[in-house]
């Protein structure tokens, strides 16, 4: 397996005896869009601050692009672009000056990239206006431009859709998709689950400072979607008997025009074959697809659907 761009192992932070984040581990690979989910106050921002060296972890290791963040912070951070919480801008400087301030810290090449990156986030027209006069969306885009100045291998965005209108969110989504297609890894924290479901390949779900689930979005959703809807010709008992044989725990719930049963994919295939052999009329089989919200609520114990 290829080397992860971001590798987090056993991260823990204690402040005055209180544990804010405990045993957080995950990997982010090249070109992956990774979602970091959790309710407010779960430790998302504390974790992100540890990823970019703003907070010193009490325990654990962060490796970015092969560099240990603790031992060699400068080298590790040179391949990271980030927005922590809000885009951090100087309102009394122009957009260009804001970019220049950071570019100068990162070398001549970054200074030469300013115009191109401003163009990329569609800010070229207003680049020489004071940031004070920018709308929230423009500030967000300028923040992303700041993060992209160092041509990062890893882009870390904390709640990037906060304050964006639906069109802005849509634009951001396709923009991030394009970046990931070009090989950049994107790490996004959010509590907007529908957003993450549309955007991310993999997620980690954090609650009360601990990561409780990690995995690819597809796998997690499949796992959370055990219910299969069988539409059969009539309420015949033969079909019911077959389905009971394959359903998990043997529970089959009769509904209008068919049955609901919890089954694995293999069980579905076997049950369908047996129904056909027995001459039952099968019109439709669908798995009732859960959303990431269901996964999240199940995982965080916030209720079931």
């Amino acid at each position: 397996m290829e080397e992860p761009v971001l590798s987090v192992r056993g991260l823990e932070k204690q402040v005055r005896g209180r544990t804010l984040v405990k045993d957080v581990s995950f990997d982010v690979y090249r070109g992956q869009v990774f979602g970091f989910l959790g309710p407010n106050g779960a430790g998302k921002t504390t974790t992100i601050r540890m990823l970019v060296g703003l907070i010193r972890p009490s325990r654990g290791q962060v490796v970015i692009n092969g560099h240990d963040l603790q031992k060699n912070p400068s080298a590790a951070l040179r391949s990271v672009g980030c927005i922590v919480e809000n885009p951090d801008l100087y309102p009394y400087l122009s957009g260009w000056e804001n970019l220049y301030q950071l570019a100068v810290m990162q070398g001549r090449a970054a200074v030469e990239r300013i115009e191109r990156i401003a163009d990329l986030v569609h800010l070229s027209d207003r680049l020489h206006d004071k940031v004070r006069t920018y709308s929230l969306g423009m500030r967000q885009r300028l923040g992303i431009a700041q993060a992209l100045l160092c041509e990062p291998k890893l882009l870390i965005l904390d709640e990037p859709t906060n304050g964006l209108d639906p069109a802005g969110i849509h634009e951001l989504r396709s923009f991030l998709r394009d970046l990931a297609k070009d090989g950049m890894s994107v790490f996004i924290s959010s509590h907007l689950l529908a957003e993450i479901e549309l955007l991310c390949d993999s997620v980690a779900i954090i609650r009360a400072g601990t990561v409780i689930r990690t995995g690819s979005v597809d796998a997690l959703i499949t796992e959370a979607s055990p219910t299969v809807v069988w539409r059969v010709g009539s309420q015949d008992t033969a079909a019911r008997t077959v389905l009971q044989k394959y359903a998990a725990n043997g529970v089959v719930e009769p509904v209008d025009g068919g049955f609901h049963a919890n089954m694995t994919d293999d069980a579905v295939a076997a049950a369908a074959a047996e129904l056909a052999r027995q001459g039952c009329r099968l019109y439709e089989v669908t798995r009732r697809r859960a959303t990431l919200e269901d996964v999240f609520l199940q995982a965080t114990g916030g209720g079931t659907t």
Binding site: L54, P73, S74, E85
Partner: protein, 330 residues
């Protein structure tokens, strides 16, 4: 990327925030008011005494001081100041040196002599208190610290920018003092003799054995140099407060309270000798040049320099240690 670029960034931010310009405007306004006031005062004095002859005026001042000296109500510290004034005046009369010869250069001299304890430090505090705390409260510190530049370098660039701005401020004081007061007094006085080497103990004993004169421009170089040193020291202390306190306003409040408290202390607590180890009591460095008695006995020029240096270095050490180690929480 060089360190100079980082310092350049910091200076740009300070200038674009217009904080430095506001300080300059305050400075110009004060210069104009002081110069005008001093002009009016000298006219009023001439009217009162009935002559503009400086020898007669100085003689009047000396006899006035002598009369006050016999008053039973004045403290030892006040007595020392009076005795120093009398001795200096007599010496100046005897050597035909006019201590209040009008001119822009004399105004520059008295502005720094008077301003070194309170006014100049106040202006420095306005600039320095903002350096770190504004980035903390504005959140922009997160950007500065995640760009792969070592934390000590980020802080050092801010300190470099602060020292540069302080140098510009002291320069601006000299230039504006000369330019504005010249309108009232004329642009002369570089070569006027200034008396140096009065040694006054806090008990009021004045030693005249080392007295000599220097041209006024040479005195200015020394007093503005000392003013710059005091400003750097106050700048370092404010810089520490700025790294420790997130709010610029409270940082400024803390420093101003300390400064004004120290000024009061050096007037009131002349008998509390531990106070001499406080930096704010040691700001009157120009006093050692013109022979005013030190506020607390036992203070000498090297002593004051040492106290200021030790406090500044300690303050900067604390700033760097805290800044490098701290967690940047929300």
């Amino acid at each position: 990327m060089t360190f100079l670029h980082l310092v350049g960034n910091e200076v740009t931010k300070m200038l674009r925030k217009r904080r430095f310009q506001v300080v300059l405007i305050i400075l110009f306004a004060m210069m104009a008011v002081f110069a005008y006031g001093e002009k009016q005062a000298s006219l009023a004095l001439a009217r009162q005494i009935g002559t503009s002859n400086w020898q007669a005026q100085l003689q009047q001042q000396i006899s006035h001081a002598e009369n006050r000296l016999h008053s039973p109500f004045i403290s030892n510290a006040e007595k020392a100041v009076l005795q120093a004034t009398i001795k200096e005046g007599q010496f100046e009369l005897a050597h035909n040196i006019n201590p209040s010869a009008p001119g822009a250069v004399s105004f520059m001299k008295s502005f720094m002599d008077q301003g070194i304890t309170l006014l100049v430090p106040l202006l420095v505090i306005v600039i320095a208190s903002d350096m770190v705390s504004s980035e903390m409260s504005g959140g922009t510190i997160k950007m500065l610290l995640t760009r792969g530049v070592a934390r000590w370098k980020v802080l050092a660039s801010k300190l470099g920018a602060l020292f540069l701005l302080i140098a510009m401020l002291v320069g601006a004081i000299a230039v504006s003092g000369y330019a504005v007061s010249g309108i009232f007094f004329g642009y002369q006085g570089w070569r006027l003799p200034v008396l140096m080497g009065f040694q006054t103990t806090s008990t009021g004993y004045v030693n005249l054995s080392h007295v000599y004169t220097v041209p006024q421009w040479e005195y200015l170089l020394m007093s503005y140099g000392l003013g710059f040193f005091v400003s750097l020291c106050i700048g370092s202390l404010s810089f520490m407060v700025s790294t420790l306190v997130r709010s610029t306003a409270s940082g400024m409040g803390i420093m101003m309270a300390a400064l004004i408290g120290g000024t009061l202390l050096s007037v009131l607590a002349t008998n509390w000798s531990i106070a001499k180890y406080l930096p704010v009591v040691n700001l009157q460095l120009s006093g050692y040049l013109n022979g005013s008695p030190p506020p607390i006995s036992g203070m000498t020029f090297p002593f004051s320099l040492a106290v200021l240096t030790v406090w500044s270095v300690a303050a900067l050490a604390v700033s760097f240690i805290v800044f490098i180690r701290q967690d940047v929480m929300g």
